[in-house]
């Protein structure tokens, strides 16, 4: 698999209206609609499928925050997704931790790993950065293979209890769990929105577009990059640990490089540098995995074809195209 090297020009930037309050109001409306859709969704579609979409959408958001707004292409994001998945599963199963604590612990461990990986990887740029993240993630993969007493090897950690949220809400019920996952997802989305639109996010975008200039303005760009990387890793971890509770398992797939590829796919198909892109991307990719599964070998072929169409025809992804039509940032 070749790694697409992305420069700022591919990122779907829009000329935004000057009036900040208008933009803010529009985003608020978009999020409200999204929340409404999430509320209706479990009555229409299968909740477990939706939870899978939401976990991967959250994972996509974390990746998009890093690449779309920081210009950093990590090809090792599976490490953070997978580590949190293992930590969360282990804590819930063997540590007897409540699900919310297991998820937080998973996200924290990924944040720590992210700060280490980030500090090493940001010393290089572009394709070298991507390769270093891939190499570090592969290290974690082999550690996971070699420590079956912790990770369960090929079997994974299975039968993770879903438990009771805050000791009250029984998550064994799919609908209840869905509500929790949707809540986590919305919190993640608002977090990304807040980060991206904060002064910190603005500086990250400036670094993305022209790093020497940001340095010349007196910013310590490395600090910003490591912090963005850590935040992204934490969010990927949140997604991974939530997934472990939803599916009651953590497996080698979570840390495998193909999962890193999948999140690239999700983000590019949905729309890089857009708020809703990863959500649409996750919906498309996870639907294909689930509902094309009875086309046999064609699943991966169709996935590949859609990826090619998206990168060659829809450079801004699906949401990028919608943005162009409607003329508003999504």
């Amino acid at each position: 698999m070749t790694v697409p090297v992305l420069s700022g020009s591919v990122v779907a930037d829009l000329v935004l209206p000057d009036d900040e309050t208008v933009v803010r109001r529009r985003y608020r409306a978009t999020f409200l609609v999204l929340a409404l859709v999430l509320a209706i969704a479990p009555f229409v579609a299968y909740p477990v499928f939706l939870m899978q979409v939401l976990c991967f959408a959250l994972f996509g958001l974390s990746f998009n925050m890093l690449l779309g707004y920081g210009g950093l292409l990590s090809f090792g994001h599976a490490a953070f997704f997978g580590l949190a998945s293992y930590v969360g599963a282990y804590a819930a199963k063997y540590g007897g931790l409540a699900p919310e604590l297991a998820i937080v612990l998973g996200a924290l461990s990924s944040a720590i790993l992210g700060s280490i990986f980030g500090a090493i990887a940001i010393r290089r740029q572009g394709i070298y950065f991507a390769m270093i993240t891939l190499a570090l993630a592969q290290l974690l993969y082999f550690v996971s293979v070699q420590t079956p007493e912790l990770t369960g090897g090929e079997n994974g950690i299975q039968g993770v209890p879903r438990g009771k949220l805050f000791g009250l809400l029984d998550l064994a019920d799919d609908r209840m769990l869905y509500a929790v996952v949707a809540g986590i997802f919305l919190a993640g989305l608002l977090f990304v929105y807040r980060i991206v639109r904060s002064p910190f996010g603005q500086i990250c975008k400036a670094i993305r577009d022209n790093e020497p200039r940001a340095i010349s303005l007196g910013y310590r760009t490395r600090h910003y990059k490591v912090l963005l990387f850590t935040l992204s890793a934490a969010l990927a971890g949140l997604a991974g640990a939530t997934k472990a509770i939803v599916f009651q398992l953590a497996s080698l797939t979570d840390v495998h490089w193909s999962t890193s590829g999948e999140v690239v796919l999700i983000t590019l198909v949905g729309g890089l540098g857009t708020m809703l892109g990863p959500i649409v991307g996750a919906l498309v990719i996870v639907s294909m995995q689930n509902y094309l599964a009875n086309f046999g070998a064609w699943t991966t072929v169709v996935q590949g074809a859609i990826f090619i169409v998206c990168v060659s025809l829809l450079r801004g992804g699906i949401v990028g195209l919608v943005q162009k039509w409607t003329g508003r940032a999504l």
């Binding site: 209706i40 090929e154 398992l249 699943t299």
Partner: protein, 403 residues
């Protein structure tokens, strides 16, 4: 603008509601077999569409219905991802009215599906995955293991070759949990029978150059070289070992070898290599009947797992016919009581931990001039009775055994 947005919202909700209303509920008077398999990954040749067709053949042999209920086969590709596999399994059981899940292949998917099936109180018959933990620590009352497992691969072959005089061994082992488990089981059998393990070397899966490993094994002077490998790695060991002329002096014990591996390596470089197998199509009249029918439909004979998928579906349908109902508790009881006897499985019996106890065969690759049809690559050395081929209950970690 406002109006159109409201109109859009209303349309979306209306659409959603109509979708929800239109969603079909599972018909209660239908038997549904779900084949959850690998159709695009490394196991897609030995499982995949062949397992689906094996299952269809079983349904056709029942005339398409059991106990007056039409039987339907659905299938899906789990893409070797445990989360995708378990999402599909859940959807099948919750929404699509699937009664029994078969095949599986990937052990992480298999274990995840086992617990889902127990939670939803349906039935799972694993015919494709090979971890012996499936009826060990992961066993549950709703789960059956129909196919080969790692214990059967290792113990049967190791004891047989040691008894035949191969009393010194060298292991080349895939460096992951199954590799280690298999090596441990095999080592114990060899040592129990007075053999000796001279050494072992471990390699990461997907190693391309086996030369240094093979030379270590060669210089050890061991009579038998245990190849704890599967798929491409196993094929590379055999091919490259052949280049060194190793197999002329030392015997290869190919754990996990399957007919399709032999065909892809080519029989000429494999003469005399032995393995313990659960199915070989050209073994007796019944297996040939199944094998040739499958061959005609799929332009190649069945793999081991394809045949086992047939056997698993057959037993399930027999149980439905005998019980006259789809009620899970009744079916589980009948599945355990009914002796297993079909074209693929002669004289089998289901054990309390869900393990199907059945004979296996020690097979040897024939010399090239004795091969007539291309795919008749093996001769049967001898039959290993089920009690010897599989892990005895006394060594089982299955919690059901202690009850």
């Amino acid at each position: 603008m406002q109006l159109s947005r409201r109109a859009f919202g209303a349309t979306a909700i209306a659409g959603a509601v109509s979708l929800a209303a239109g969603r079909s509920r599972a018909a209660a008077d239908k038997v549904k077999i779900g084949v959850l398999t690998d159709m695009s990954g490394s196991l897609s040749a030995v499982l995949g569409t062949g397992s689906v067709d094996g299952t269809r053949m079983a349904v056709e042999d029942f005339g398409g219905s059991a106990a007056g209920m039409p039987v339907e086969v659905v299938f899906a590709d789990h893409q070797n991802k445990a989360d995708v596999g378990s999402a599909i399994a859940r959807r099948w059981l919750d929404q699509d009215g699937v009664d029994v899940i078969t095949d599986l292949g990937n052990s992480a998917v298999a274990i995840a599906s086992q617990s889902i099936v127990k939670e939803k109180n349906k039935i799972i018959i694993i015919s494709g995955a090979s971890s012996s933990d499936l009826t060990g620590k992961f066993c549950n009352p709703n789960s059956f293991h129909w196919g080969y497992d790692t214990y059967m691969f290792s113990a049967g072959l190791a004891s047989e070759l040691t008894l035949q005089g191969g009393n010194t061994w060298f292991f080349l082992t895939a460096d992951y949990a199954f590799g280690h488990a298999l090596e441990t089981d095999a080592t114990r059998k060899v040592e129990e029978l007075g053999g000796k393990v001279l050494g072992r070397a471990r390699y990461p899966i997907n190693t391309l150059d086996m030369a240094s490993l093979l030379l270590q094994a060669q210089t050890s002077g061991a009579k038998v070289i245990g190849l704890v490998a599967s798929g491409d790695d196993l094929e590379r060991f055999i091919k490259q070992g052949n280049e060194f002329g190793i197999w002329r002096k030392q015997k290869a014990a190919a754990f996990g070898l399957q007919l399709y591996n032999v065909m892809s390596i080519g029989v000429e470089s494999m003469q005399g290599i032995v393995h313990n197998s659960i199915f070989y199509w050209d073994r007796d009249d019944k297996s040939r009947d199944f094998g040739r029918r499958f061959w005609k439909r799929n332009s190649k004979p069945p793999s081991e797992a394809h045949a086992i998928a047939y056997s698993a579906a057959t037993q399930y349908l027999k149980a439905v016919r005998a019980a006259g109902t789809k009620d899970t508790a009744t079916l589980l009881k009948v599945m355990h009581e009914l002796p297993v006897d079909d074209l693929v499985t002669p004289g089998g019996k289901v054990r309390v931990d869900g393990r199907l106890i059945r004979p296996t065969w020690l097979l040897e690759v024939k010399p090239k001039d004795q091969i007539k049809e291309g795919w008749d690559a093996f001769s049967v050395v001898r039959e290993i009775p089920g009690e010897k081929a599989f892990r005895p209950l006394s060594e089982s970690a299955c919690p059901l055994v202690k009850l």
